[in-house]
């Protein structure tokens, strides 16, 4: 397939397929998880679980005392990566127009040079986190294929986006097509890997806060 043909497919049919698989997987996984249910707690609550549950969904983003000092790269790198990824995704004007074509509305973007810097920092951070996953004893011990797959499908859109942005590579049309395809790959992979955490973390944090909260403990 030529660059223009690939780009056309990626923007059209490719996106339809990717979105379909993504939404199918997301819903199937979530409903499957939800239906496992949870037994009602018959003990007498010391306090309502709702407030603490909601609170933890947000507050767990802050580190436990001592945690930052123990694992600075995991924590800070994690934040730089997540925020950088979201910033480049949501505040680069061409991306905003992509989302506008789906949602029907858009929002102001950041200047391209800023997106460029953020993108580069995000890429560097992801690489640093991968190196840490290889070299740090705990992370190396825990890591499985799923971790590396997730890293790769997350890295590719950033890398291909950077390449396209800077008109590196042989043919911009092809680079753009590869970038869009890498995003479609990411979409397809999300429901079947640990990347589901982007949807389930809120539920996990909720339970954490709720379980402790009904005992009167703020976590």
């Amino acid at each position: 397939m030529s660059g223009p043909e690939l780009l056309l497919w990626a923007r059209g049919t490719g996106l339809q397929i990717a979105v379909a698989i993504f939404l199918f997987g997301l819903l199937a996984r979530f409903v499957e998880l939800w239906l496992l249910g949870r037994k009602t707690d018959l003990s007498v609550a010391r306090a309502s679980a709702v407030g603490p549950g909601l609170r933890t969904v947000v507050s767990r983003s802050l580190p436990m005392p001592g945690a930052l000092k123990q694992t600075p790269l995991v924590f800070l790198g994690g934040y730089v990566f997540h925020l950088g990824f979201l910033a480049t995704l949501l505040f680069y004007v061409p991306h905003i127009h992509f989302l506008r074509s789906i949602l029907g509305f858009g929002w102001p973007g950041l200047p391209p040079f800023l997106i460029d810097v953020i993108g580069l920092v995000t890429i560097a951070t992801l690489i640093a986190l991968l190196v840490q996953r290889f070299t740090d004893p705990v992370r190396r011990f825990l890591s499985r294929a799923d971790d590396y797959v997730a890293w790769t499908v997350t890295f590719l859109p950033l890398l291909s986006g950077y390449v396209a942005f800077h008109r590196l590579g042989t043919d911009y049309t092809l680079m753009l097509a590869l970038h869009i395809l890498s995003v479609e790959l990411l979409l397809i992979v999300i429901p079947f890997t640990k990347l589901m955490h982007m949807f389930t973390f809120a539920l996990a944090r909720w339970y954490n806060g709720a379980i402790a909260g009904r005992k009167g403990v703020r976590v």
Partner: protein, 366 residues
């Protein structure tokens, strides 16, 4: 009608001065990015050359490509071209009609076998035996194959001839295809555009006339000298793109300040053409300079590549049907496996045998 005059003889008989002719050759040399010394060579060669036989086939087209070529502001350039070639067949420009015209075509093919140039504009419909575009009872398909057989080279002019163009757009009811989809055994130069820039068409022909070869082509068969860069690469509004200054409507402050037209749908970044440098109407302007986003008209399938007025990054096909179906099927699948999970849990609970102190003592569990 073919004649045996050289180009130089023809020019002289038309009263075109050598100076004017040299200016033409110098311009062509420059446009083709050939070394300056080639201007003289071009002049000498063209003057001595027998006027090149050219057969122009117009198929499923709107005649815009011919219009582009003939409606130039400076008669010297393009008409000089017509003086340098012998246009033996062209629906719009020829004097003859009907059987006489077809006889002239066949005669030219015989007289210049293996040497004549074929220029094609318009796509070739294939559906239902090619009945959707015929000339003198022959389908475009048949005429193309017949005419191409003895050609030295084929120049496909306009996006219809190069990639199928408008007729090829979804749902392509006539089964329209490009020249290169049919002819596989002759050198083909694609000069796309809807229409192409007149000077570009002229330049390609001039290259062939002077050097006897076709210019270097890219992977889509387009002359690299004209189609090697994208509009975006050469656009004078590029600094605004880089700074993030975009016009959001056709008449807002950004538009009036001449800011980048990306948000209004400009396809410049993925469009290869010479519009941003060579421009139109003898270098007067080009769409972006006039405030309209580039349509991407020299790229394949540009009609199907999303709205002209939605950004390049926007999706091109609807998603709601796919999304809706996916959500429904996903939910159903989730419920199905979820119920299986619940059944598994219930079964496990039923199979639970109470652990007692005796069991622990025996060393095993329940």
């Amino acid at each position: 009608m073919a004649d045996n005059q050289t180009v130089g003889e023809t020019l002289a008989s038309r009263g075109i001065s050598r100076r004017t002719f040299l200016k033409f050759c110098a311009t062509m040399t420059s446009l083709l990015a050939l070394p300056p010394g080639m201007a003289e060579v071009m002049a000498e060669t063209l003057a001595r050359t027998r006027r090149q036989s050219v057969i122009w086939l117009s198929f499923q087209e709107c005649t815009g490509c011919t219009e582009s070529l003939t409606r130039s502001h400076s008669p010297t350039l393009e008409s000089l071209l017509f003086d340098a070639i012998s246009l033996d067949y062209h629906h719009t420009l020829q004097a003859a009609a009907g059987d006489a015209a077809e006889r002239a075509r066949v005669q030219a093919m015989q007289d210049n076998a293996g040497k004549y140039l074929v220029i094609v504009d318009g796509s070739i419909p294939l559906k239902d035996g090619g009945v959707y575009s015929t000339i003198a009872g022959h389908s475009n398909l048949d005429m193309l194959k017949e005419t191409a057989a003895g050609a030295a080279a084929i120049i496909a002019v306009g996006t219809c001839a190069t990639y199928g163009g408008l007729p090829h757009a979804n749902p392509n009811p006539t089964g329209a295809v490009a020249v290169s989809d049919i002819i596989k055994d002759k050198p083909i130069v694609n000069v796309p555009g809807c229409p192409p820039i007149a000077t570009v068409i002229t330049g390609v022909v001039a290259h062939f006339l002077t050097l006897g070869t076709l210019p270097e082509l890219d992977s889509l068969g387009r002359p690299k000298v004209f189609f090697g860069d994208t509009i975006h690469d050469r656009c004078y509004r590029r600094p605004f793109y880089d700074q993030g200054k975009f016009a959001k409507t056709f008449d807002d402050e950004g538009a009036r300040s001449g800011w980048c037209l990306y948000e209004l749908g400009c396809k410049g970044p993925t469009t290869h053409n010479a519009c941003a440098t060579v421009k139109w109407n003898g270098g007067t302007s080009f769409p972006i300079e006039s405030g309209h986003p580039c349509l991407g008209c020299s790229e394949p399938n540009f009609w199907d590549a999303g709205s002209f007025y939605q950004a390049l990054s926007a999706k091109t096909l609807p998603l709601s049907a796919h999304a809706g179906a996916a959500l429904a099927v996903g939910a159903a699948a989730g419920v199905a496996v979820g119920l299986v999970s619940r059944a598994k849990k219930k079964a496990a609970a039923r199979q639970h045998t109470r652990v007692s102190a005796d069991d622990l003592e025996k060393g095993g569990g329940a």
